[in-house]
């Protein structure tokens, strides 16, 4: 009886792993291909290697550039010569 339960549990684990594989390699790519916007965003993610699962700003390279850009704008706002 106990042995049957153990093999059943291992079977469930195996099914879980197969389902995860199905999601990663079949379902998710198929869903992604349904949307042009999603495909374009995916290309940008690949191009810049964006860590989409990042929790905090320090996890992302792009935020460092964004902050430098924003700070420059505030500290040295381009005003140019006075308009005539």
């Amino acid at each position: 009886m106990e042995e049957t339960k153990i093999s059943k549990n291992w079977l469930y684990l195996l099914i879980g792993i197969v389902l995860m594989g199905l999601f990663i390699f079949v379902i998710a790519p198929a869903l992604q291909n349904q949307s042009d916007t999603f495909n374009q965003i995916s290309m940008i993610i690949d191009q810049h290697d964006v860590e989409t699962g990042a929790y905090v700003y320090t996890d992302l390279e792009l935020t460092a550039q964004a902050v430098i850009g924003a700070r420059s704008t505030i500290e040295y706002p381009p005003v140019g010569p006075k308009q005539q």
Partner: protein, 572 residues
């Protein structure tokens, strides 16, 4: 996470995980300072001075960011303490499994032949990007010269020059990204991962020993937790999963839950499921990353959007959950509200630790966030494009509403460089709120929620109940903000942000959180989780809160960026 009702005694300093989180977290922050602060990049101060002088000159010369202005800005951006020899060694030691498509072994090992093929395959892309950048630079030079020849008095020429220069700067970024893909080096992560496992296991074992917990059991179980964390990172770096933003947190919980609800978590591993110990240590490190002083230098419009809307939505969503939906668990209500209104997983972790929520409640909040983030990351830029919302407004809207920082960056980059910058800046400002909100929640819980109705409690009683690690969390934020201010924005960026934080403490924090999520998964029961989802109330709470968030953020962003601070918007 049971309430702490024990009376305060000195022994708490070495017997509780709250204090151990503080000691270990600060130890790592000090190690980071010792490693990076004495080794600034060569010529740092001279480069900064020259770049600032150029930017000041160019700002007076033209009413837009010129080519020389951008070049000076990029020089400052490239000054990074973590690019030193020691910084590179640390990064190599903490390296997580890499990107892969079909073969998971590629996440851990790629030989020279394989890497050569990958680099060669990326060469045509680099050639195209180089050509595009060179062409864009020429066009930008011509347009800038035309604007200059009119003394920068012709609005049409100024606008045309600005557009061409922005296009060149974007093309330059694309070229750098393409270049990185051609310089990949062969790697084998197995030895460094084994080393990291041993170091981290021993690091956490110190506290386990002092707290009088089962040290042998912890050391026996830790490798399992670590290995699952490694698998979670590998799955998160599978290319399609990256597109969806399904990160290591989600995979760590999912794999842990799959094991615990099928074959069961092995008894010998249970002593290593120290969820709070890992999370709180990670949170103290996260505190160091919350540089409050820094955001003051990056713009008022974003501060107003993030700091007015976010707390408002948090309070309203919590009240909605209590008064309208009548959610039984106040902690679940708070964790979902913080997750949705502040910044996703990081805020959920901090809020859960501050109000002592159950791990199933944190799991639920992260799951909801994951689903909404994936949808919003695709839907929001599509809506912005279709409806013609200006990209700066769209960036602000996405930065204030999409939960995950990474998804905000992806959606922003899809629109434009300006949208990306605004979105990422607002998300960063929101990130900074985590500490204040966690402190507020901890005080509110200690004073109101845990107190008997109508009964006033004394200061000492509040102190007994207060989760002490929050002091380390806030303390790290205050200390690092002061150091950053003292150094000034430019040197602070190079030495603190691009040194101690991104070069060391962040790497540790990331692993600690993933270990915590594995431990959560390994100790979570499906039935218990389903109980919390009863009636779909958390989903309704999230959906209603997010709807209100979308509306309020859009209105506030419009007011701030177009009515109150139009001059800043024009300069972005």
């Amino acid at each position: 996470m049971p309430a702490n009702s024990t009376k305060n005694v000195w022994s708490e300093l070495w017997l509780t995980e709250d204090y151990w989180a503080i000691w270990l977290g600060f130890f790592l922050l000090i190690v980071g300072c010792i490693l990076f602060l004495p080794n600034p990049p060569e010529g740092m101060e001279k480069d900064i001075q020259e770049a600032n002088a150029t930017m000041a000159w160019e700002a007076d010369r033209a009413p837009f960011k010129t080519i020389a202005y951008y070049k000076a800005q990029d020089i400052k951006a490239g000054l990074r303490a973590r690019n030193s020899g020691i910084g590179k060694q640390i990064a190599a030691f903490f390296k997580q499994p890499q990107n892969w498509t079909n073969n998971p072994i590629h996440a851990f090992f790629q030989g020279s032949g394989q890497v050569k093929n990958r680099n060669n395959a990326a060469l045509p892309g680099l050639a195209i990007a180089k050509e595009a950048a060179a062409e864009a630079l020429n066009e930008a030079k011509v347009a800038e010269a035309a604007a200059q020849s009119a003394g920068f008095q012709d609005q049409a020429l100024n606008k045309a020059a600005e557009a061409k220069i922005d296009a060149w700067h974007e093309a330059k970024g694309d070229q750098s990204a393409a270049s990185r893909k051609t310089t990949i080096k062969p790697f084998n992560l197995i030895p460094s991962l084994i080393g990291l496992m041993v170091v981290m296991g021993l690091f956490f074992a110190i506290g386990i020993k002092f707290m009088g917990k089962n040290l042998g059991g912890f050391l026996k179980g830790f490798p399992l937790v670590f290995v699952i964390a490694v698998v979670a990172y590998a799955l998160a770096n599978q290319i399609t999963m990256k597109h969806y933003g399904i990160g290591d947190a989600a995979w760590a919980i999912a794999i842990g839950m799959l094991i615990s609800n099928t074959i069961g978590t092995p008894k010998w591993a249970k002593s290593a499921l120290e969820v709070e110990y890992y999370i709180k240590t990670g949170l103290v490190l996260l505190g160091g990353e919350l540089l409050i002083s820094r955001i003051l230098a990056i713009g008022l419009p974003g501060i107003c959007v993030a700091w007015i809307v976010t707390p408002t939505i948090l309070v309203l969503t919590f009240l909605f959950g209590q008064k309208v939906l009548k959610i039984e668990s106040k902690t679940l209500n708070m964790v979902v509200s913080a997750d949705m209104s502040v910044c996703g997983t990081s805020a959920a972790i901090a809020a859960a630790a501050a109000c002592k929520a159950k791990k199933e409640e944190l799991t639920l909040a992260i799951g909801l966030s994951l689903v909404f983030t994936a949808i919003m990351m695709v839907a929001m830029p599509a809506i912005i494009k279709t409806t013609g919302i200006p990209y700066i407004l769209g960036g602000a809207w996405m930065g204030g509403t999409i939960d995950a920082t990474g998804a905000v960056a992806a959606a922003g980059a899809f629109l434009s460089e300006e949208a990306l910058y605004v979105a990422a800046t607002i998300k960063m400002i929101q990130n900074m709120l985590i500490g204040v909100i966690a402190f507020g929640i901890a005080v509110f819980w200690s004073m109101k929620i845990e107190a008997a109705e109508g009964k006033r409690i004394g200061l000492m009683e509040i102190w007994y109940r207060f989760p002490k690690f929050i002091l380390g969390f806030l303390g790290a934020s205050i200390i690092f903000s002061l150091i950053y201010s003292f150094m000034g924005s430019d040197i602070g960026y190079t030495m603190i942000d691009q040194g101690v934080l991104r070069g060391f403490s962040r790497l540790c924090r990331d692993w600690f959180f993933t270990l915590a999520f594995v431990a959560i998964g390994l100790s979570t029961n499906f039935k218990e989780l389903a109980h919390h989802f009863k009636g779909g109330k958390p989903f309704i709470l999230y959906a209603c809160g997010q709807t209100l968030n979308l509306a309020l953020t859009l209105i506030m962003a419009y007011i701030m960026f177009y009515l109150v601070f139009p001059e800043i918007t024009a300069a972005i």
